[in-house]
């Protein structure tokens, strides 16, 4: 299954670094000139890449062990005393294990804590469902006042990390484990919180995607064009607050939507898009996501194929959405 035609993350685009690597490098670089930034780790810094910051700034780096509840509370206390707290762990553990602490110690007082969930989605592969954060976006979106970001590639993740650190208030940033195709260059990677990036224009439908699904959406749009369907592609890197203007324009101007995300069906990007479009300008919407199930161990590309996160599935959904529009 390792061939170029097997789907997965092997697209025509050049492979860039993993988004967790991009986050780690950006944090390391920005931390240099920002003494107010502190990092609290739950003994996974070599996975989340906060170790690069930690090695440069051991006086501002605290490993509290495998204890996510305490991790979040310590970060909240640091933030309450004026620090910009950055915490990173596996998306599944930081959101699920420490949810009440995120709710009570961070969201309720609105503290300046930056929560980074790494190893998100099924593209982590072999470690299996226990390690796969597939409900993290839903949980993070349910925390009042949180900004929720799901960047697509290396350069946009660096820009997202900068935007996250400049934002006052709690943020959830989702990053992934595998190397991912490059979509942006250093100069084209703009990341404005709440402002979707239109990567391709089209008049027949709009594919709204984030994370690893953006490159697959672009592949799908290319394939659709050869079949006479012109697809707009939006990189909806901020799930909350969602870009209502871009969604209204997409619904009005293209009349049908597909939402693609590496997340369960409930509470993620699809839910947010549907909520918004149903209010502003209802049009047919189809979804490509992980439905309502746990995944399993396997090679990342094979899992993406098995669970339907492919350009081909996005293409099928696009045709269904366009057909519904005509019906």
């Amino acid at each position: 299954m390792a061939g170029a035609s097997s789907g997965g993350l092997q697209t025509k685009r050049e492979l860039g670094k993993a988004t967790r690597d991009a986050f780690g490098r950006a944090l390391e670089a920005i931390g240099e000139n920002h003494p107010e930034i502190v990092v609290v780790d739950g003994d996974v810094s070599n996975s989340t890449r906060t170790e690069w910051f930690g090695k440069k700034h051991p006086d501002r780096f605290f490993n509290v062990g495998i204890a996510e509840s305490n991790l979040v509370g310590v970060a909240a206390g640091l933030a309450a005393s004026g620090k910009t707290s950055v915490i990173a762990s596996f998306a599944a553990f930081i959101t699920c294990n420490a949810y009440d602490q995120l709710r009570m110690s961070v969201a309720y007082p609105g503290l300046n804590v930056k929560v980074v969930g790494s190893h998100a989605g099924i593209s982590i592969g072999e470690d299996g469902a226990s390690q796969m954060g597939v409900e993290d976006v839903s949980l993070a979106c349910s925390l009042p006042g949180f900004v929720v970001m799901v960047p697509a590639d290396e350069e946009s993740t660096k820009a997202a990390t900068k935007a996250m650190l400049e934002h006052q208030g709690p943020v959830y940033l989702r990053v992934g484990r595998p190397d991912v195709p490059k979509i942006y260059t250093v100069s084209s990677a703009s990341f404005q919180i709440g402002k979707a990036n239109k990567l391709r224009d089209g008049s027949d439908l709009t594919i709204v995607a984030n994370g690893i699904m953006v490159s697959l959406a672009l592949d799908a749009a290319e394939a659709l064009e050869s079949q006479g369907i012109k697809a707009r592609v939006l990189d909806m890197h901020t799930v909350k607050p969602i870009d209502r203007d871009a969604l209204l324009a997409a619904a009005r101007e293209t009349g049908a939507l597909v939402v693609a995300e590496e997340h369960l069906a409930h509470g993620g990007l699809g839910s947010s898009v549907a909520y918004t479009v149903a209010e502003l300008h209802p049009v047919p919407i189809r979804y490509v996501n992980l439905l309502d199930q746990f995944a399993e161990s396997g090679a990342p590309d094979e899992l993406l194929e098995k669970f339907g996160l492919t350009a081909g599935k996005i293409g099928e959904a696009a045709k269904a959405a366009v057909a519904a529009k005509k019906g």
Binding site: V38, V64, A67, S69, V74, A76, L78, A80, S81, G82
Partner: protein, 278 residues
Amino acid sequence: MANNLDALLARAKSIREDIVRMTTEAGSGHPSSSLSATEVVTALYFGGFLRHDSKNPHWPDRDRFILSKGHAAPVLYAALAQSGYFPHDEIMTLRKTGSPVEGHPNMKRLPGVEASTGSLGQGLSIGIGHALAARVDRKDYHTYVMTGDGELDEGQNWEAAAAAAKFGLDNLTLIVDRNHFQQTGPAEEVLNMDPIDGKFTAFGWKTQVINGNDMREVLTALDRANAVKGMPTCIVSLTHKGQGILNLLRKLGDTNFHGKPLPLKYLDEALAEIAAGV
């Protein structure tokens, strides 16, 4: 010292009166959980231990007090109001719609509240964060955290206990308000955490066990905590839930009296017992 002690004992009575008055007015709340902690909170705010300025609640160099057992909010509100953080009569708006004097402490709405608490088990971790921030900033402020004894059922406390010891936080003092009761019964029966001091000692803390309703013992314990170097201190403060109105609670046949206010018809009797200092 004697004058100071007399003043503190009088202050504690005044705090207790506020606790009973505001919860009876509210018609709900946790007066008994607040009364047990009164000596410690009074000593912190009025005994010279907390360096604080009610006119500048976000003063970076202030000492911090985090009430992790957030349901005991009335004792905190009484201390903050009597310290001048907000007008004293606002305590009588406790739990009323629109009032920042909420059922559990909300740091966004009420000056002087250092942490929003009420989901038990989270305050010690927050306190560690403040203590680490002091270290990063090379500041000498001290952070005090108060938990309940039942609250120690929450596992997060033990994650935090290990971390505070790891970082050698001698700028952090935990007071466990050991009032021996939690919601449904005696703490030892619900989930026995004894020996509390032994557990914290094993985690690498300096520990003390005191009579937490004896102001002299409280003052001495807080002095000792300030002198400890290289490790955090845990003061196991043995108290009575409802201290100050125990005779009345016995008469009512409920010495736990968890999460309920005194009915108005008993208010005068409660205030008289507090004034007599039985």
